[in-house]
Amino acid sequence: MRKISIIAVSGIFLIMGLSSLGLAASTKEAPKTIKVGSSCSLTGPFGSGGAMCKAGYDIAIDDINKKGGVFVKEFNKKIPLELFLLDDESNMTLTVSRMETLYSTNDVVAYLGGFSSPIHAAQAPIAEKNKVPFLMVGTYLYSVHQKGYKYNFSPFPKSPDCAKAVFELLDSIAAGQKPKKAAIFMEKAPVGMELGDMWKSESVKHGYGEPLYRDQPREMKDFSPLIMAAKAEGAEILLTGPTTPEGITMTKQIKELDYNPKFYFAYRAPDPIAWGQALGKDGDYVVLGPGWNSGLKFPGVKELNESHMKKFNRPADVMTGPAYACIQVLAHAIEKAGTLDRAKIRDAIASTNMMTVIGPLTFRPDGTGVVVYFCVQWQKGKQEVIFPKQYATAPFIFPMPKWSER
């Protein structure tokens, strides 16, 4: 009797599970929608980045569907896009499961990225395995593109772009004012090491000498051991990559310890608009490389900002632009391919050569985007593009004023 009820209960679970999966339809008639999927972090530590991406996807799809959708030659009609976005709870195993769900249940023609490098590291091979074109933003991770994957594309800067651009920016400083000695604090994690090592060699290459290099422990709450070391060494260039909450704490402590680097670059931490809200004027002068900025003059940016304004009462966030561009690239590729066949869409993406909200875009054979690397600086509570010069919305302020002189 007991065993039967156990079977009954597990049966109920199974049926619930299976029925919730729904049944995938596969006919040759024109589908009602073109399905795209994203396993994105809405909860957990990557939740804030995930939310920025989601906004970009939503607005872009809205914009396209307002015009009736994407024209697919195979069916000779415009078909609207439909986004299936599942929360992966910032969990690297759940995200695999969600990717499979999107593939099997929702039968998506393309994947869109989530947010953060560890999540993408887990997602990329799934796209490759399922042979679904995958467009990802919100990660600098370069190594993932060096594995010969064919379905992974990223219209987003990668570690080498950042390493190069940061030192080009430094080189643009007048000879007499050039800062001396760099301090690098990076997490011992794939991106941290990748970018940290590149900065290290760029520093030597560009004549700034061997930098002070410190591994930043994860979930650090007190950065004084790092800051004091940099201060003691007289490092005038600070290059680092904390998470946003860590970066907020670090900046507060830099001020408290009266450490005055002339140049302060942080990847990822100052990206969200929350940086400025959280730090106020103390967040100013920090330079970041977010891949995009709402002040850029590329076509479509203005409209994107307006839509974002309507929804969230502020111009689009840094991840929102690249996320929007993903949809632009995808729509363009589908139209070019004229079919919903994933392999053909993949080929169309690979041959992308178009203007997007993040600027002109093509892809290298490894799937990384040939994108403009924008250096952005927080100025008066706003993110301003300062590099490359032709896109600048404001001049680069250097050196960063001393805390006592602000």
Partner: protein, 314 residues
């Protein structure tokens, strides 16, 4: 014993049924969620041996899972045959368990729980620092990656795990473990060496946690090396076992189904509120069924029985 035979037939039946799943569906998401369920069963069941049967609530389970994963992955990708890498993973976890077992098992109750949590965290941070790279597979592995063998590996592992727990539960060894859990002094007075029982149970627990880690390393294509050491694996095992029914053999199984399927179901149905909804459901289950989901099973059973004998009463 006829109940023995019934149990074995029932188990076999379910296992065969599950073995047929990949033949009935080509859908990776179903296969995938089943893999997740089997993984949870292995994790929870191996934790259950130590916590449920022997009464030692450990929060360091992720350490064994992680050791199994890292060993298997490195050896396998390094070119050794998978089965050898897989078994070595389990053994490395056991060796670690034997080393830390002596000092750790001297601690009692919450001190043991938090102490083992500390141990696991040390290992996680150390691994994260020594191997900060992505543990990924060479491109040609991915080209040939197939979920089906993973499915069967996990299924077989889960079945073995359940069988082992069943056998241990019905053996002299299991009797001694449960005696230690129920009353350490009384067990000692009856000739049971509590420390030995705890050590054996820790060894079994860590071996299977290590194997589960190895299977994970075989399944998950690409991840950071310290991911399998993350405390969430421990908490998953604990929550699944507790919510299913600790110290029972069906508890972790029901718990794993509940935990994986409901979470997946809500995540699909309510992308923005699923965590809230699942949390609420979880609290409700705990408040209404303090003995775990197995209690629901026994309540249903009682209900059925009450219906049958209803005539006489009231």
């Amino acid at each position: 014993m006829s109940s023995h035979r019934k149990n074995i037939f029932l188990g076999l039946g379910i296992a065969i049924l599950l073995a047929l799943v990949p033949l009935l569906t080509k859908r990776n998401d179903i296969i995938n969620i089943m893999v997740l369920i089997f993984l949870y069963i292995c994790l929870a069941q191996s934790w259950n041996i130590l916590a449920g049967y022997t009464g030692q609530v450990s929060l360091g389970h992720a350490a064994f899972f992680g050791l199994g994963a890292i060993t298997t992955r490195i050896l396998w990708v390094g070119g050794y045959p998978f089965l050898m890498a897989f078994t070595t993973g389990g053994l490395v976890a056991v060796v670690f368990a034997l080393i830390v077992g002596h000092p750790a098992l001297r601690l009692r109750g919450i001190y043991f729980a938090i102490g083992t949590l500390g141990l696991a965290q040390i290992l996680k941070i150390t691994v994260g620092n020594i191997l900060p790279t992505v543990a990924d597979l060479p491109g040609d592995y991915i080209a040939t990656y197939n979920l089906i063998p993973r499915y069967y590996l996990f299924l077989i592992l889960a079945v073995i795990m359940v069988v082992v727990v069943y056998l241990v539960g019905h053996s002299k060894l299991g009797l001694g473990m449960v005696a230690v859990r129920e009353d350490e002094e009384a067990a000692e007075a009856s000739g049971v060496n509590p420390f030995r029982q705890k050590m054996i149970s820790l060894a079994i627990s860590s071996f299977f946690a290590g194997l589960a880690g190895g299977a994970f390393a075989f399944y998950q294509v690409s991840y950071y090396h310290d991911l399998p050491f993350s405390p969430t694996w421990t908490f998953d095992a604990l929550l699944i076992t507790f919510v299913g029914g600790v110290g029972t053999i069906v508890g972790p199984i029901i718990g794993a189904f509940f935990y994986a399927i409901f979470r997946e179901f809500f995540a699909r149905a309510f992308p923005e509120l699923h965590v809230f909804i699942f949390g609420t459901l979880f609290i409700l289950v705990v408040l209404l069924l303090p003995g775990g989901l197995v209690e629901a099973v026994s309540r249903i059973r009682r209900l059925i029985r009450a219906k049958k004998t209803d005539t006489g009463f009231s």
